[in-house]
């Protein structure tokens, strides 16, 4: 964790990195809708194609993206096995008790797995190309209309931004406290679950106390800098919507249209 803007942000300069975070969030939403609307491999193929193009534009090595799939591999296997064994209908190729595997079952399992992989890789591409800070800005801006129904958009954004600011500080502090206790013979690595949970308590106490202390001081510092959350507040940072963003949105709409067309004109998976 040390010295890393946490999360998975991959720092290179690319057209995708330069896009407005709102565009990327909107595009991701369009993409997710498209992936879910796809009912056959043509549709999924279109999504995969779009995904590949963006990945190529983003200069993020494909390996980093695959790494994100690793996290859901268990879920993937679990659903795949369930689908494979319990898909009913179609002609069984193998039959063993209540378990039967059909050709359609295999087909469907592969389809669902592909869908899940595309979803995960698409979302991780967003976090790989967008810093947490600009992601927060994007979310704040997109949520802005909710202000009309008195949703505390600004406060929420400030909370997120402060949280982002303090994550590296607190994670450093956690590491230091744990090191201090390891140096005094504490053992976090071995033993059963109860022993390990017990070992964590001495870490949590100073960490919590420190977090409260920091919160207190930060509150004072914010007060001293005239924070009141009032209406006079202006905002310095303005997100810019450029030609790149317009193009990306068009691309997203085109993708969704293509998928919907495939869905209407070609057969479903099974």
């Amino acid at each position: 964790m040390r010295d890393v803007t946490f999360g998975q942000y991959y720092p290179v300069d690319s057209p995708v990195h330069k896009c407005d975070p709102r565009t990327k969030i909107l595009f991701l939403i369009l993409y997710i809708v498209a992936v879910f609307s796809a009912k056959n491999f043509f549709g999924l193929g279109a999504c995969a194609f779009a995904f590949l193009i963006i990945t190529l534009c983003s200069s993020v090595p494909i390996g980093s993206i695959f790494r994100s799939v690793r996290g859901v591999v268990f879920l993937l296997l679990f659903t795949a096995i369930l689908n494979l064994f319990f898909y009913s209908g179609g002609e069984p190729l193998v039959k063993w008790g209540i378990i039967e595997i059909s050709k359609e079952g295999i087909y469907y399992t592969v389809f669902l797995a592909a869908r899940l992989i595309l979803l995960v890789m698409g979302s991780s591409l967003l976090t790989l190309t967008t810093t947490p800070v600009s992601l927060t800005d994007g979310i704040e801006s997109l949520l802005y209309p909710l202000k009309l129904v008195r949703f505390p958009v600004h406060e929420l954004a400030l909370i997120m931004s402060i949280a982002l600011r303090f994550i590296p500080i607190l994670s450093d502090e956690t590491a230091r406290i744990m090191n201090a206790q390891r140096a005094r013979g504490a053992d976090f690595e071995t033993g059963g679950i109860i022993k390990r949970v017990k070992a964590v308590v001495p870490v949590l106490i100073p960490l919590l106390i420190s977090a409260f202390r920091r919160a207190d001081e930060l509150g004072d510092a914010m007060d001293a800098r005239c924070y009141s959350g009032s209406k006079v507040r202006t905002k310095y940072k303005k997100l810019r919507f450029g030609w790149r963003d317009a193009f990306a949105c068009l691309f997203g709409v085109a993708l969704l249209t293509a998928v919907l067309l495939f869905r209407a004109y070609f057969a479903h998976v099974v």
Binding site: R184, F212, E217, L218, S230
Partner: protein, 642 residues
């Protein structure tokens, strides 16, 4: 609105008590906890003072003197119990004025980490102006102005987490500056910084006062920082006890000491010289002191006087050799490298081939900039960072054909081979004690006793009896200067900051480690506290732990205390020798951007004036060697020096 007032800040008989005001106590706990609250619980007891517009005032005081309370009263974070406070012609107690006062009075706090709200410098500086509704375009201009004023323009898009303490604090000042305040208060803003960071901050503040005409109230426990001010005020136990020109205030060292303030080092050296019989005026800088000494020397040469009679440097004192005596192999490190986040875009070489030997019995210093690798190195010493070859899953790789084998890494500490995975790392850790930065924040147990006993119980091979535990804890606590009976059942969180640090040290030495490593043991303490901690470490070195290693940014600390020191730079040890050798050829340190101790600066200045004063750069030896110069003068006034 025409504003007719001369005083920027005016206190009239202000009293303040934290009692019955749950709010705010915790906020100042840090600064006030050293804890004085008298019977009535007043943190301020009838304070009257005024600060003129455009003035630069330094407010000195020991922890608990009430100086931080004063800062919070000025911009309405706290309200006085009684008395009247007027800020820029407005009464603070009037709620209507608060917002306006806060806009005009910038307050910079102690901890550089706890006053930034955003993860990007420019966003953080924009926070203040945004709050008061400055139009967007102007915010941009203000950010530029503020960053320029603190000399941080290059860092507009940087992440605060990656800046040094001094830089972070300058960003915090810029954040306040963007509100265009008329008064700026710095509430111990230098306390947590290293000497270099402190200098950066104080210089910026001085410039703001001179160039922008901002009224400055600098609250500090470092008396030397008062020198830049127009006026110094000293507080003690909630009262103003001294007031006047900084030079005059700092010169009254007896009084300062009685208020638990330590006069600046140059003054202490002048005092020692006077005690040796040398008539010398108070000096605050290396140059002036060197000039004084040189002129005293030429006077003495003309008219011999009784200075430094009998002071002679004995031969073995001047001849301090550079090699270590005794067993060299207490810590033996060869070719140690370490990479953070390998195989990722963030990978950084923290160590790239460290070679270092530390002998048993040494008081060893480690110096270097933040990021020079010293902390990473220190964490290797008790295997908090394990070498790849010592990790469980390590398997020796076969060297590829045609590839030169990498030079082998060696690391043995106190007889343990740290490159071997079969080493008993628990036994190692009980032999190598480690005290981290601000160890008082790592205390966790319900009572002081339990906290100190934590390591003892963890390391015990067989469960200890209650008597054995109590005996060891008692011994450790009394070694760090705490009264066992008084503190053992108290919560560590009830103690003062200084006491907590002692408890934390006791918790490490309780297992009687042979090697004790401390990462900036004196960080954040006031000068007197620093001195006390170093005294404590010498005591521990004498009675408990054979070898002591300290990481420090303070060169005076290194010069005064260490037998040898290693200089880290860019993941390597670039020099390892005695402070004497290190500071008598200071070019290398200066080229690395590191400081040199005050005594070395004076020695250098003296040399420019043709006076050679050889010392090992501890202030005691320095004073001796200067006095010896007088003793060596040939009687009869045949001056031979230039």
């Amino acid at each position: 609105m025409t504003e007719i007032y001369e005083e920027a800040v005016k206190f009239e008989n202000v009293r303040f008590s934290y009692e019955g005001k749950g709010d705010g106590v915790s906020a100042t706990e840090e600064t006030e906890s050293d804890g004085f609250f008298d019977g009535e619980g007043f943190a301020l007891r009838g304070v009257s003072l005024s600060v003129k517009k455009g003035e630069f005032v330094a407010l000195l005081g020991h922890n608990g003197s009430g100086k931080s309370t004063l800062a919070r009263l000025i911009n309405g974070l706290l309200f006085p119990t009684s008395g009247k406070i007027t800020v820029l012609g407005r009464e603070v107690t009037d709620d209507k004025n608060i917002f306006e006062i806060r806009r005009r009075v910038g307050l910079v706090f102690q901890n550089p980490d706890n006053q930034t709200v955003a993860s990007i410098v420019e966003d953080d500086i924009a926070f203040g102006p945004e709050n008061v509704g400055v139009p967007r375009k102007e915010i941009g201009e203000r950010i530029e102005f503020a960053l320029n004023a603190v000399g941080m323009s290059k860092f507009r898009y940087a992440t605060p987490a990656r800046l040094s303490g001094g830089q972070k604090q300058r960003i915090a000042i810029a954040g306040v500056l963007a509100l265009k305040p008329e008064i700026m208060i710095l509430d111990e803003s230098t306390a947590m910084l290293d000497p270099r960071g402190r200098r950066e901050v104080v210089e910026v503040v001085k410039r703001l006062n001179e160039e922008e005409g901002i009224t400055v109230l600098l609250i500090t426990h470092f008396p030397e920082e008062a020198l830049l001010a127009d006026r110094a005020i000293v507080m003690n136990k909630g009262e103003v006890v001294m007031e006047g020109r900084p030079e005059e205030i700092l010169g009254r060292s007896e009084d300062l000491r009685s208020f638990r303030l330590l006069p600046p080092r140059p003054l202490r050296i002048c005092e020692q010289l006077r005690a040796g019989g040398l008539e010398i005026a108070d000096c605050f800088g290396a140059e002036t002191l060197a000039t004084e000494i040189a002129s005293a020397l030429s006077h003495a040469a003309e008219k011999p006087q009784e200075v430094g009679a009998g002071v002679r440097l004995s031969e073995n004192e001047t001849e301090q050799n550079d090699t270590v005596t005794g067993d060299l192999g207490e810590i033996l490190c060869e070719n140690l490298s370490y990479v953070y986040n390998p195989n990722s875009p963030f990978s950084t070489h923290a160590l790239s081939g460290v070679d270092l030997n530390v002998g048993a019995g040494e008081f060893f210093g480690i110096i270097g900039h933040t990021g020079s690798g010293k902390s990473t190195f220190v964490q290797h010493l008790n295997a908090l960072i394990k070498l790849p070859t010592a990790q469980k899953k390590y398997k020796a790789k076969k060297p590829k054909k045609g590839e030169a084998p990498l030079p082998a890494t060696r690391l043995t500490v106190g007889g343990f081979d740290l490159t071997d995975k079969t080493t008993d790392f628990k036994a190692l850790r009980s032999k190598v004690g480690m005290v981290f930065q601000y160890p008082e924040y790592q205390l966790f147990a319900e009572t002081v006793f339990d906290d100190v006993a934590f390591g003892l119980k963890n390391f015990a091979k067989e469960p200890l009896t209650d008597e054995q535990t109590a005996e060891a804890v008692k011994e450790a606590l009394s070694t760090v200067g705490l009264d066992y009976a008084e503190v053992k059942n108290r919560s560590p969180f009830e103690l003062s900051g200084g006491q907590r640090r002692r408890v934390a040290i006791a918790g490490v030495i309780v297992t009687k480690p042979e090697i004790l490593v401390l990462d900036e043991p004196a960080a954040g303490l006031d000068p007197l506290g620093k001195e006390e901690i170093m005294k404590l470490l010498h005591k521990i070195h004498k009675d408990w732990c054979k070898t002591v290693i300290i990481v420090s940014h303070d060169m005076d600390e290194i010069a005064e205390n260490c037998t040898r020191a290693a200089v880290f730079s860019a993941g390597k040890v670039v020099r390892a020798c005695s402070p004497k050798a290190l500071f008598s050829a200071p070019e290398q340190l200066i080229s690395l951007g590191l400081d040199i101790p005050f005594t070395a600066k004076v020695t250098e200045e003296l040399e420019k004036r043709g006076v050679k004063a050889q010392s090992d750069f501890t202030s005691g030896d320095f004073v001796r060697s200067v006095l010896a110069l007088f003793g060596e003068l040939p009687a009869g006034g045949e001056a031979s020096h230039a």
